[in-house]
Symmetry: D3
Subunit: 209 residues, 6 copies
């Protein structure tokens, strides 16, 4: 009758403040800190915290950029909190563009699963690295560098970027410059763009001043 | 004539030992260290270091597990060296299985792009977390925990795991136990498996002793 | 009479929100996060938070494995929270075995202080590294790899593993596979073990299905 | 009329639990953890959280060391929480001294902006590294090593140390040894200093026993 | 005669492969890796490796931006290699501007030591954070976010940015977009700027295509 | 005949630049970097790289401090390189003392295996934390803080410190101050010790000036 004895052995290991720190599923209601969200109580964790189905749905590309980004970051997908990784989905209709942007907190690897995508990043020494990616190709965009993706064919393209952080961030260049109330003159001074150009894009994107 | 003056400004920034440490493309011929491979000289880096096409090719699943794993880790894809991320490709023919395994150095997010996959991991408290994943679903497997993937339908399945490290490692349970010269008696003692069971699997996998 | 002036100097440094972040003693009642437990208020910290006596007591080895593991992880020993280190105690009666297991979140160095221990780990390329350790020997088990310890002599053995994390985790292979409700058929499919073998061990360990 | 469509694109990205994890401004009232303070709610963050004016005010050097340290660590400057960096201000009147001290949690780079400072650190192999620093010079003190700064001229000196952590800590050797109730005999035993010397400095600094 | 005995104690500690890993002064001739440059042999390290005087010299601001950036990163200042910190110097003549840029690998704290500087950054949610900084003020720019500095007065301004990395990187927006051979059409597509605007700035900055 | 097919599956995984990055055994002849030593070629690694017997030998305590420290850091024990952990051995004869010291790069947990040890550390706020440790007790010393160990009984004591780094460093206060050529006057100025006291200890420890 060995079962009870073995059980004793197990109890020893799981005794005390038995936080299973294999993972830290995000508890959106508790305080967050520099390392991420607080952890959900182990007893409330279910397999559904580790699975996300939102990337299975095509994003709506009937917009000016003919493209959509659907994130599965820690803010949407609680299971990746604290685990150093997250994903997203890119839909690019024909002519679609993900304009120049950066992820301040992560490197990215883009996986193309449908169509053709012209992708590129620019290094700190201003060298551009461009490639036309086909189905099955992957391309890495090092952390924090400006990069873009453009549909390179006449058919819809679908790609999945992976990130080296559960909260990679996303700063879209045009939005950062034109989709707020930064004074046109200040933008002109710090970008060398003409005031007319700035005002035009502020108009398109809803910026003021 | 402002160009030369601007150029001066630029030179200042790029002067001296001008290593562009935006990235560290692996140089497989120089020594590697705990943080990864040495960096290729910047002058030798091209866009092809940042792009990998090996995941576009279906793995050969005509084997006993009816499955194949194709890695794009730092050892295969030099551009991810030092960037905290890598990918792989899973092909699962009908009946295909990626048997229980761990990645000692990374968490994983699995993206299903075709077919149906039954996936699961077991936490440190022995709780299993299982889910049948459909096209577009993602599931996270926290670092170091035992997990598996099984084709859940009658058609081929295709999935792409992403990892939170450029060198996640891969320890397949059966290989670790049975595909080497560990003495049968020692395995029996440390796994509670019967000697006959061990010898049978050693036979299948090419282990000895 | 210089004392008051010096005191002023000190006050400057300790002013404001004077959290002493030399350490972060675990407060088990506040939320925990990916980096560990919340910190106890400095005013409540005493030397007893930094000392743990639980490893001085021999574990009960009158069980099926003739062995016991006593952890001093952050969940038991609040002083190590956030400090990247923890310890445990291994008692191995004659014939005692710590079966194959992994620590998903830490590397381990085992120190033998009494008796003889046969220890080993298996690398990702399936190479086993085995050694008979005597009193005073230490052996390192790299993070996440399967390893075991067996009493190698006729007398009790005592060892102290140190870990590179305050919460290293512990996944015991047999428990992960057999001490839960994973379906026998699924285990067979993902381990290649025979159903009879699985059912036998489920019986021993209290698993179902 | 493209504005509304673009807006849709933006909403997608900011949906769900929209924590902007670009930064984590310290919330001093919520629990802190090993990685720092909890984050202030995004809606309460203002530019003033990212700006600190306390270093613009000269410290009071009318004290025994003729010097003052003014910190802008995470405990004073909430914007640096979680960002791996902080600053301070050193004022050294003629004859002023920042006595031997360490920062347990950070490396330091000292920038001299006025006057002359003799600075030095001692490495683990006991080699001292000393230099007389002039206006504009910078010197690095590697993490955790004993170092000091002394006014090297007849005029006030001003310097700004930067640290590789938002909470570098500051342990002043004389205070650690003499400004508490450690028994004189124990200090003598663990420093080889004479009891008379210890009692003299305890007297100066307000220590007891 | 106790000296020789003590010496024995010391020898024990410094025996074997006596790398002093207090620091890792950059050896620019050996391979570099993801964590930085290789370390200079301890015997070749001198105090001058830890001191840098290049920031004491005003940058040349007779250029189009009326500003200069002088870095003291690991590539210029070998002593900070591996230590998580570096500095630079900003000179801003009246009317001077450091245009929008990012540091892909570091957060920055700017210290104003002379004059007035208008500084700002834009968060991922497009909120701008702007402030006019006076002498002694410090402002933090979180990692990877677009930011700028502008001389806010009629006199020269001087500031010293500190970074949370020895190799923070510097990507200047205008240079990344216009100072290379990226096709005008592609830039237009990925920035929404007019082709004429792009060509104009390419002309100013020396870009082609 | 399934063996060859399985073998194919295995080859796929181990193909290419097959660095097993489970571990990085130190190669003392190749360059080291901020993250540690370069890795030995996998083919040259043996189990002996992971085992160290040097801690099984009592240190020589016939010296002035009646104590000995025997390190098993990465410089002595190549297997711990890159793994975030190391150990050492402390021998304390009756009356033995490990004088005040710090480990600049690691937290420590001390395990007492024989005898009685009085141990203590001083926090940044100058609070001492002292405890008399008996066999089996463990005590943690947070990173970078001054601490000491003293034999607390009339019999030899033996203890094993574990560290949260493979290269924790060791700065012994008396050696840093007195066992080199730092000028007596400068030491007096930066420690407030009397010149006579300094000269006396320089004499004992072999310092000059």
């Amino acid at each position: 009758m060995i079962f009870p004895i073995f059980f004793t052995f197990f109890l020893l290991l799981s005794s005390s403040h038995a936080s299973v720190q294999d993972f830290c599923v995000a508890d959106y209601k508790a305080p967050d800190g520099p390392a991420g969200y607080s952890c959900k109580k182990p007893a409330k964790v279910t397999v559904n915290d580790f699975v996300y189905s939102g990337l299975g749905i095509a994003g709506n590309t009937t917009n000016i950029i003919k493209a959509a980004v659907t994130p599965a970051f820690a803010a949407q997908f609680p299971g990746v909190n604290g685990l150093g990784i997250s994903l997203a989905r890119l839909d690019l209709a024909p002519g679609g563009v993900i304009p120049f942007h950066t992820h301040p907190g992560a490197s990215e690897v883009l996986l193309v699963v449908q169509g053709t995508i012209i992708a590129g990043f620019v290094a700190s020494d201003n060298t551009p690295y461009l490639k036309t990616l086909k189905k099955g190709d992957i391309m890495v965009f090092p952390q924090g560098l400006l990069h873009f993706q453009v549909n390179g064919g006449g058919t819809p393209a679908l790609a999945f970027p992976s990130f080296s952080s559960p909260s990679p961030g996303l700063q879209i260049l045009d939005f950062a410059l034109f989709k707020n109330d930064l004074a046109t003159e200040l933008i002109a001074q710090t970008t060398f763009l003409d005031a007319a150009q700035i005002k035009k894009l502020k108009g398109v994107l809803g910026g003021t001043n």
